[in-house]
Symmetry: C2
Subunit: 204 residues, 2 copies
Amino acid sequence: MIRSGMNAPGLDRILFASGNRGKYVEVVDLFAPLGIEIIFGPEALRLDVEETGATYAANAWLKAKAYCLASGIAALADDSGVEVRALGWEPGIYSARVAPSDEERTDRLLGRMEGVTDRYARYVAAFALYLPSGCCIITEGVCPGELREVPVGSRGFGYDPIFAPSGYEGTFGEIPDAIKRKISHRAVAGYRLMDILSGNCVVE
Amino acid sequence: MIRSGMNAPGLDRILFASGNRGKYVEVVDLFAPLGIEIIFGPEALRLDVEETGATYAANAWLKAKAYCLASGIAALADDSGVEVRALGWEPGIYSARVAPSDEERTDRLLGRMEGVTDRYARYVAAFALYLPSGCCIITEGVCPGELREVPVGSRGFGYDPIFAPSGYEGTFGEIPDAIKRKISHRAVAGYRLMDILSGNCVVE
């Protein structure tokens, strides 16, 4: 039974279905209030799940389902990307696949944005929590902001050094983790997921 | 707050995001224990949602999200298909799109199965319930069975007259609605969804 409050009895551990340790650290921090053990996926099993989905939600669902079915443990997966208005919302779901490293991906995006004045961009994330019962809970989060001209700061990962969230001075490469974990796309999606785990979601 | 038992306080009506009245009637019957009003989508608003997903779950999610965002009301969508082992699990997610009418789709499938002795097939369904909070609950259900050589019975819709569920004599075209609504792919997916709405899902 799900009761109100920050607890989800019966769900005592979750497998994080991703090899990205930066995301794992964020997720552990984000879901700490639930008191659920989160296991780093590759330590338990390593699966190659093809991200054939057309949306973040579909890709997160594919990964979470594969890890849950293979392990028998509830599995949490994330899919996320950066969407740039001036580029017709690209690179979107391909954000992590346009080049082999964070640096190359960032450079490529800055290259496409040379001379472009409309710098509006948004980070988007979807979480999928697939339970052994066959239920899956999917939530999404958006963090609006803008792209800088050059990378600043060394915190975070992905496009963080060139992405400045709306209402803040710095990029996610500069902003302290404690703030990023409150306002980021993953934080918003995570709060929505915690709402449903803690039994507060259905009531609007 | 979600409480245990067959109730989901705060969720008093759901928009059914499909124009298929046969499915709507099934869904109303299936979710009757929840005591939630289910509104036939096209009576409230008619959206054309492109089913670009690679899975049933992704298509159901796309439809439920579109209807929820357009209406502000929780939206329930279904995507389903029949998967035939001898045909490499086709037609699958394209089941409803291979021809314009149920009769033509059924004829086409029987044509492909002429002389094929392995008749194993399964009906698969996914439900997506998208809530205004941005949470989406997705469940799936499978109903194993076999394809008959000719259509029998006039109940149901889709491939029902040629699909005989395992353990039963007749096709879904013959089997009484009361039984179909207990054992079908949509019933299994529906029970899983009701489990989460009634707060019983997380505990395995």
